[in-house]
Structure formats: C-alpha cells, structure tokens
Amino acid sequence: TFVFRMFNIVLVDGVRTPFLLSGTSYSDLMPHDLGRGALQGLLNRTGVPKEIVDHIIYGIVIQEVKTSNVAREAALGAGFSDKTPAHTVTMACISSNQAMTSAVGLIAAGQCDVVVAGGVEFMSDVPIRHSRKMRKTMLSLNKAKTLGQRLSLLGSIRMGHLMPELPAVAEFSTAESMGHSADRLAAAFGVTRVEQDEYALRSHRLAKKAQDEGLLSDIISFQVPGKNIISADNGIRPTSMEQMGKLKPAFVKPHGTVTAANSSFLTDGASAVLIMSEEKALALGYKPKAYLRDFVYVSQDPKDQLLLGPTYATPKVLEKSGLTMEDIDVFEFHEAFAGQIVANLKAMDSDWFAQNCMGRKSKVGVPPMEKFNTWGGSLSLGHPFAATGCRLVTTVAHRLQKEGGQYGVVAACAAGGQVFLPKYTYAQLARADTEYSRGATVQVFLVHSFGLFSVHVLCMKMTMCKSVQKHF
C-alpha cells in the first residue's frame, strides 16, 4: 500500500565540476565523464555509503546517442553500486530541477530515503546527424540484398544528401531561437542595451568577487584524464561597459540589444546533490544544509512569454506557503540573458502586466537587488543547461548559511530548444532550507523555468561553413 509520508526532505550537500566555456579544457570528454566527476565528488565530499543510495536521477538536454541513459553510465563510472537504479530526465534548462523534484517525489512517496540528483551538459560536442535523406538511404542499404540493389542505392546519393543536420537551435513550436525570443522580450519591456550590459557586468563582477573570496565552495576539482586538474570556472570575465558596448547584436540585426556579452555562454559542466528524508539524514549523522520545502512548475505561451516563467511562478509558490517577498532572504534566479532577467524584474514591478497577463490585482513585487544573485549567475559562471538547477539550489543553501537568512527562492526558466524537449515554458518552484547548526527553520524555494540555446547558435554559426548557415 501507498503511504504518503508527511515529513521533511533535506539537502545534505551539493557539488559541481568547474563550469568551463565549451571547446576549452573539457573538449575531448563525453557527457558521462563530467557526470562521473560530479557524482564522484559528491561521494567523496559527503562520504555517503554507496550501498544506501536508493536511486540516482540525472538530467541532460543535448543527448549523446551512445549514452542515452547518461545517469546509469555516469553512476557506474563514479563507483556507485551497480545495484542502484538510475534514470535520466530532460526538461530543457530545468532538467536537474526536474531531477531534484523527482527525488523529492520518490522520498515523499515512501519509495526511497536517499536519492542522488544532478545534471550534466556537454556542449563541446553535439550530435550532428546525416540528413534524413541520407539516413534513409543508409538504412535501406542495410536491407539491400544484392550488389545491384546496393549500387543503385549508392548511386542515388546526391550532393543534397551530404548536408548535415545540426541540432535544432530554434524552439520547435515557434521556429524562433532563444536569443531572438530574448531580444523581443527585452524590446517588449523596453529594456535598453545599457540596462542589459550593466546587469551582465554586475553578474561578472559579483561572480569574480565570490570566486576571489572562496565562496564558490560547491566546486570540486576535476582531473581531466591525461591532462591537468581543473578547479575553477573559466567564464567569469568582468570587463567594462565600453568593451561590452562595442559588440554587435547577436540575433536581431541590426537594431537588436542582445549580444554575446549579455547572454549566457555555451558551457560544459555537471552538478550533483544528495537528498534524504530528514529522519534518515539525522540517523546517519549528517547536518543537512537545507530543507527542500515546496516547488511549483508553470508554463506559458512559448512565443511571447517564453522567458517569463519566474514572474509567474514566484508569487505562486510564495502564496502556497503563506510567505511574502519580504520574508525571502536569498533569491537565486537563473540568468539566461541579462535582457530576460531585467524583463522579468520589470514584469514583477508592473501592475499592467499583473492585471492583463497574470490575472492578479496588483504587481508581484521586485526582489531587492542586495539579495539577488549576489554570487554571480549563469551569465558569468556559465550555464551547462541540465547542471544549472543543482548549482542554484546548492548556492541558495550556501548563501543562507553564509548570510544568515532563513528563506530562499530559486527560479529558472526553461524552454524546448531541441526536438525532444517539452513544448512549453516551465517554471518550477521548490523550497529548501538550511541552518541545522542554528536550529532555525530556513527554507528555500526553487523557481525554475528556462534555458538558453542562444549563444550556442552564435558559436556554432562561427564554425560553420556558409552553406550550412543557410539552414538557419
């Protein structure tokens, strides 16, 4: 029989590999290698006996076809027990949020006591397929019985067959790239180029400060096989407004405002968290870092509201738990684009938007900036799609401990940028908590939604030959 257990679920700890610009030191790896790194790091840091782990859930967006259940491959390689089941989830840029909330669900349903969740993204290598025509010919070739049949099939191959098919960079439902959508969103809210560059610069400066002060303690070093040890993120680049101002718009030309500098970049990285029932954690002698209290997923129109998930989800989860904006000490929002963050902040500050688009009486209210992404964000630390969620949650726990707060909220927007992704925008909310040592109840809410395929487009485009570009 099914017994729903009404008890607390806790985050014991969370780790991540350094997040690197794709095409740098990780470039020769495979996705499960990075996943292995994060999982092994979690084992080492928490010392959790591997035989007590009931389940492993891992997220990924761009799938490597050889390791379609990347969770299992990474777990086995990381030294987890081969008796522990593992499965892979995908939900665009909130894939590891989905992994975490699935873990919460398994524990709440009484199925498990100890679950490892995480996510990996590896953009240094993406599956580029033969064209459909070519694939069809090749598959028919398998079935061809005589030499004559084979030759006639081979003879049917034309130049057009050789055109490769790149992973779609556009939203499947609207055929619009994420960066283009972000630019339109920024324009809809009247977000200027200067506002976006300023916000991006803030992200980089805060990230640099956090890095220098050693606050990014969720990072575990990663030994690239046959190469050096990597122990820090490499995408943090505080420059200047002048430097950023020189860039041309990346998506909407020539008058757009979203540039490579105010967007998150293509990133390789992996993360993992250890989630338990409070009872189990205490029995094992752990001092959990936070309670995971609640979460919400929302979805909207994928065309005009693709990146507005946080605005919709934040008030929902707060109301659900009887809290207000003022009660929250730590906000961690995923930064897909500076324009998207600023647009969300403007939406949260707008009565018009609240009344006309959300069916609310008045505006949601804006998080105070001194509580908002104060250790940098996806713009500066990087955004390996399926690894970002765990980074956000672990960061909230660490910030709450460091800054002495009680409640935290995580929000992220996600979209379907790939063919196998969901069609709508999701925002998810979860709450976590910390401060076991102080004995106070500290909660974290996770709001998620979106991801970012944007700069990928940019980087891929640069390396593509002209004929391929026409595809876009």
Binding site: A187, A188, G190, P254, K303, N356, C357
Partner: protein
C-alpha cells in the same frame, strides 16, 4: 541620464494644431509624422489626409532643426490602405482623375527629393497609394506582423498605380518583379518584401510587456525607425544595395524588349483583351524606362484618368464595394457563438468545409459513414493545411495545433455539444430526410441544422424537421477553400437568429455571403442552369467543346462552359437540369437532358471520372476532347439556325439567358438586392468580373439592347428567351438602373 537624452527631452515638441488626420512631433532632430484617420479603421489617402500631409511636409521641411523624418501610422494593422476610391469616382471626367494623379505624383516627388531622409515605418497594410508613398521615401522598415502586407492592388479595380508607382517600382525591385506585383495585384508579406528589396529592414512583433502588444509593437517600430532616420542623416546607416546582376541584365534593350513581349503575351492570354488596365500598366512602365521619367509620369497620370472612366473599372470597383457589403452580417449578432460545428459527410465538400472551419479555432467534428470516406476527407484537410506550411504561411506546429481541433468519427458521439450541424451528404431528398431525423435525435435544442445542397429546395428538406426554424441552407462552392462565395438560403420558417448565426459562421470561414430566398436552384444554380442548357444546345448544334470554351472565355468567363460542366460533374449537371426542368418547365429547356444522361451512363461524369467533354490524364495539363463524346453529339445533333448562330450570337444566347434569370430572381424576391446578385454571379459562377455581374451588365450594356437580342432569339427558340417583366421595365425606362 546622459546628456544626449536630456537634450532629446528638452527638444521634444508636439505639434497638432487643428489637424485631425496627420500630426507630427519633433524628437531631438527627427520629425515623427503620424497618420491616423479618426473616422475609419484604415487610413486612406483622402483629400483631407493629402492636404494635411502637404501642410505637415511644408512645416517639417521648412524647419531647419529637423535633420530627418519618420512616417508612421498610429493605427494597429494599417499603414495606408490606398487611395480613397470614392474620391476617384467622384471626379466624373478623365481630366479630373488625371490631375488627381499628377498631384499625387508631385507630392511623392517632393518626398523622394526631400533634402532630409524620410523613413517609412510600416505596420499593417501598405497598399496602393500607401505603397507608392512608402517607396517614395528613402528607407522602409516593416514589422513582421501577419497583417503587414505590401502591394499594388489597383489592377484589381481596373486601375493602375497612379502616383508614381509604375515609375518607381521597376527601379526598386527590378522589371520582372514590378510587373508581377502590378499585374497580379497580389499582397506581399514583409519577409518576402525584404527579399525583393521592397523594404530595407524588418522589425519583430512584440508580445505583452508593460503595455499591450500592438501598442508596444508600433512604439518599438517607431524607436527603430527614429534610430535609422538619425543614422541616415549622419550617414552612419548605409543605403541598401540594389541587385547588381539583374540591373546589369536589364541594361540591355533587347532583354527589356523580351520582357515586355513576354509580359504582353501573358496578359493577352489571360485577359483576352477584356481588361484594359494591365496593358496600360505595361505601357506606362515602358514609357518611363524607354523615354525617360517625364514621358513615364505623363503616361501614368493620363492613363490613370482614362482607366478610371472605363466600364471595366466601374464594374470592378462595384464588385469591390459589393464584396465589402457581403462581408457584413445584416442580421445582427446571433444569440450564441458557434463553438462546435459538426459536418456530415467527409466528401470533397464536407472536408472543404471542415478545413475552412477548423483553422478558425472552431471545434470541428467530421462524420462519415465509412472509414475510407473519413480517411480521405481527413487527408484532404491535412493536405490543405500542409500546402500552407509548404508556402510558409503556416508553421508545422500551427498546422498540428489546428488539426487537434478536428475530430473524425463514424458515429454521432459529441453531437450533443454541437452548436451547428452542416450536412454535405448525397443530393437525394430521402437521404437528407433520414440524416436530418437522425441528427435531430442527438443534437441539443439550440443547435442549427444547415443543409449544403445546390438545388433541393430547403423547405422540402425542412419538412422532415421537428424545428424548421433552425433549418437553413448553406450552399458552398467547390473547392471550398478556394471559392469565396457562400450562398445562404432561408425559408419563410427560418428564424432571424438562425440566419444571423449562419452568416456569422460563414464570415468566420472567410466567405463572401449572399442570403437568398428559397426555391428550386435558389439563385446561383438557377442562373447557371439555363446557361448550361443553352450550352448543351450549342454543342448539339455542332459547336465542339473547345470552341464553346473559347466563346465563353472570350466573353470574360474565367472557365469555359464545357470545362465548367466537367468540373461541376456531368451527373450533377444532369441532375440539376432535370430537377429544375421539372420545376420551371420548358423555359429551362434548350439542350436535350438525355444527352447529359447518356454521358453519365457511359461513365463520362467529368473530371472526377477522368472523362467528360474532355479526357483528363493525371499529370497531363493538356486536355483533349473526349473522342467518344462525338458519337453521342452526333446522335443528338440539331441543325443550327443561321440567323442566330454567329459566334457573337452564341455568346449572347448563353449570357442573356443567365442575365434574364438573374433579373427574374430579383423580380421574384429570391434575391434581396442587385448587389448580392452581382456578387453571387461573379464569385460563385465566374460571371465575367469585367462586366461586374449580371445587374451591372444590364446597366452598362443597356436593358433595351438585351431585350432586343432576346426577342430575336425568342423568335427562333421560343419562351426560353422571353425577357422577364423587370428587364422589360428597365428596357422601357432608361432612367431605371440597378446600381446608382
């Protein structure tokens, strides 16, 4: 805030004075000229608008602080929809229209030669004079809005772009594209316009932000346009480069001559010389290119004046007005909106109705009796939508999302939620009665039952109904997704709300609607039947199908009579001829119905069976006369009467029977007014558009002349050519006209 924005705010002045249509504002050094006709949903280049625009231009160009300007409309969905047609019609003489044209030319010449750059910021329809205005500007920015279309539809009104369009367009998009635009009058979407070089830059439409999407999109367009205007003034924004290769090729006289020749031949082939406007357009373009701008502009204004006085232009403008009138619901707003529509029969017609319904967001049930029939019907709907995906007017996602509203089924499940049922089953009264009874057992009390028939009287069908007030006829034309007309038939028991609801559904489906009274053949079929009967007689008299087609198309019918019969289906034609023959007696005689019946017996049912008057082979465009039909024609051969068998007489025999029946329909009250009569004949039956419909034709050709011709035919053939009373009245009194 930096210094520049401060300056900008200080310098912002809004100048409005007493002007109502055009206003402007100066932001820093850019003048923003806004157009907004307060009395209409669209902006038209009316006298008032032009006058105010001239004033504003004077002020803007006279202001030394202004370094550039932006021209924009404040209306969502419309930049400028064209010149005011009424203004042209009010002129009265060719000279006056010509001077109107040359005034327009001068105004746009000033825009073109303006010392400061002017940027046209286009959101919504930019047509006719609106497009001519835009192409006179230095730079064009358009939104990617679906409503943003550019085009020169003048040709469809029998006119030409008379304010410099024939001169500027070829320079802008090249000779071939310019001819294509001006001769077809088709609308061009923004993305295509960008590719053609018609617009220089595109701007996205925006979703909701801190304001409504439409409002913010216009604002955004303005912001971008102001930036570009300033950039042009500072020479920071380069002018868009023209296509060099085409320009080079067009530099050769023999290439141009070849283009003129090809275009000329194409136009002659399509218009049979019945439409003067296309030829004049070619003439104007040629004059401008070969003899220089002065000759070009002169030719343009003079030809514009001449064209405005032609009966063809009057006819086409009449159709335009009629079409606008038939896009309104004169029965008011129905009590309930139709949210679920069920269709019985997934044949060509049923599936066609489903296609034009489901893409408007209405839940659509398509029911058939066999899996094969249903599958074919659903495939037809899919294909119709997928063709739009191929043409890129729809995305594959939109297609799938539209199709999710279509339910195909074999039973009556879900009919309890239907607000309207349209039956498109076989044309047999007994079957229709059976279906009506079955449906009434399952539908809710408010549900309307519409029957799609081309000839069966609605009251006969409604006789089986428990609630005849909810029964109405909706006669669609095949192919439903292409034919614009919908003929709605009311009986004296049909309630007003039922009619209002049927019209509302038809309008939603994008139809042009005429509402007519009940009777055998209603209006359209009834007019067509005598003409087809005459066509059969003509065939019997030894004119072969090809010749018959040439004679009818030569008169202006888009499809020849023999081809039309094949398209409609010989079996349907035989069926209708027999039914209406019974109802109206010898007046509907002429050709022998047995001829049609024999064809049907032999399996010559027209295109659908591969053989009719012609032979149809898949993949083959050429049509050959069906050799086996000659033997049948031989069997039914009649001797032609030499006095009424010249080519022209044959044409008039066909047309006068059509026209007389149409006038009789008005006389009998089947038709509510002549406008609907004209629209129904042109949009449903292909009556020559250049004649404007049977009623306008009587007005322009003269009722007396028609009566005279009919009397001559009457002497030979009898009562089939007896003019009706109303036509006689008009013949007697020339001051009587159907159209004012």
């Amino acid at each position: 805030m930096n210094q520049k924005t401060q300056v900008q705010i200080q310098c912002t002045t809004i100048v409005s004075l007493t002007r109502t249509h055009v206003s402007y504002e100066i932001k820093d050094d850019v003048a923003i000229i806004r157009i907004n006709d307060p009395n209409s949903k669209v902006n038209t280049l009316s006298v008032q608008l032009q006058q105010e625009m001239t004033e504003v231009m004077n002020e803007v160009l006279g202001n030394e602080a202004v370094k550039s300007a932006v021209l924009i409309s404040s209306k969502p969905g419309c930049f400028i929809a064209g010149a005011d047609i009424n203004m042209i019609q009010a002129c009265g003489t060719a000279e006056k229209v010509s001077s109107l044209s040359s005034e327009g030319q001068k105004m746009f010449e000033r825009v073109e030669k303006s010392p400061i750059p002017i940027v046209a910021a286009i959101n919504g329809s930019c047509l006719g004079g609106g497009l001519e205005f835009a192409i006179a500007c230095r730079y064009r920015i358009a939104t990617k809005n679906k409503k943003t279309v550019l085009g020169t539809p003048e040709v469809m009104l029998g006119l030409l772009p008379g304010a410099g369009g024939t001169q500027r367009l070829p320079k802008m998009v090249g000779l071939p594209s310019a001819f294509d635009m001006m001769l077809t009058g088709r609308n061009i979407r923004a993305d295509k316009a960008k590719k053609m070089g018609l617009v220089d830059q595109l701007v996205d439409t925006l979703g909701p932000g801190l304001k409504g999407p439409e409002e913010r999109t216009i604002e955004y367009l303005e912001e971008v346009a102001v930036g570009v205007a300033r950039g042009l003034a500072d020479k920071k924004v380069p002018m868009t480069k023209t296509k060099k290769i085409q320009e080079y090729v067009m530099g050769f006289e023999f290439v141009r001559n070849q283009v003129y020749k090809t275009v000329n031949n194409k136009v002659m082939k399509q218009t049979k010389g019945l439409y003067p406007a296309p030829m004049k357009i070619i003439e104007c373009v040629k004059a401008g290119i070969e003899q220089g701008p002065d000759a070009g502009y002169l030719a343009e204004s003079q030809n514009f004046g001449k064209l405005a006085m032609t009966s063809e232009s009057r006819a086409l403008i009449g159709l335009y007005h009629g079409q606008v009138a038939c896009k309104k619901n004169r029965f008011g707003v129905p009590d309930r909106e139709v949210k679920t529509l069920a269709i019985l029969g997934a044949g060509l017609m049923g599936a066609g109705i489903a296609q034009v319904t489901v893409d408007k967001g209405v839940n659509t049930i398509l029911k058939d009796t066999t899996v094969e029939g249903l599958s074919r019907g659903q495939q037809q709907v899919y294909k119709g939508l997928n063709d739009r995906v191929k043409k890129r007017s729809l995305t594959s996602f939109e297609r799938d999302s539209i199709l999710s509203k279509l339910t195909g089924q074999l039973d009556y499940g879900g009919f309890e939620k239907a607000d309207m049922v349209v039956e498109a089953v076989f044309e047999d009264l007994n079957i229709k009665h059976a279906v009506l009874k079955e449906v009434e057992a399952v539908i809710p009390p408010h549900c309307i039952f519409a029957t799609n028939t081309s000839a069966l009287p609605i009251k006969d069908i409604a006789a089986a109904s428990k609630r005849p007030d909810k029964v109405i006829g909706m006669h669609y034309f095949s192919p439903v997704d292409k034919m614009q007309l919908l003929e709605i038939i009311t009986t004296d028991k049909t309630s007003r709300d039922t009619t209002a609801s049927a019209v509302a559904v038809g309008l939603k489906q994008g139809k042009v609607i005429i509402v007519v009274g009940d009777g055998p053949g209603f209006y359209t079929t009834r007019c067509l039947a005598p003409m087809l009967a005459e066509a059969v007689r003509v065939l019997q008299e030894g004119v072969d199908p090809k010749k018959l087609d040439t004679l009818t198309t030569g008169f202006g019918f888009p499809v020849g009579a023999a081809t039309l019969a094949d398209e409609v289906g010989i079996d349907v034609a035989a069926h209708v001829a027999e039914d209406l023959g019974k109802a109206f007696g010898s007046r509907f005689g002429g050709g022998n119905v047995e001829l049609l019946k024999t064809m049907v017996e032999k399996g010559f049912k027209g295109r659908k069976s591969g053989k009719g008057c012609y032979i149809y082979q898949p993949g083959l465009k050429r049509k050959d006369i069906n050799p086996e039909i000659e033997e049948i024609l031989e069997r039914f051969k009649m001797t032609p009467h030499p006095t009424v068998s010249s080519d022209s007489d044959v044409q008039y025999r066909l047309v006068t029977r059509f026209v007389n029946e149409a006038v009789l329909c008005l006389q009998e009250g089947i038709l509510n007014n002549p406008v609907e009569g004209d629209i129904g004949a042109v949009f449903g039956l292909g009556f020559p558009p250049c004649l404007g419909g049977p009623f306008r034709y009587v007005d322009s050709f003269g009722a007396d002349k028609i009566v005279e011709k009919m009397r001559r035919f009457e002497d030979v053939y009898g009562n089939q050519f007896t003019p009706c009373q109303l036509l006689l009245d008009h013949a007697k009194d020339p001051s009587k006209r159907f159209h004012k």
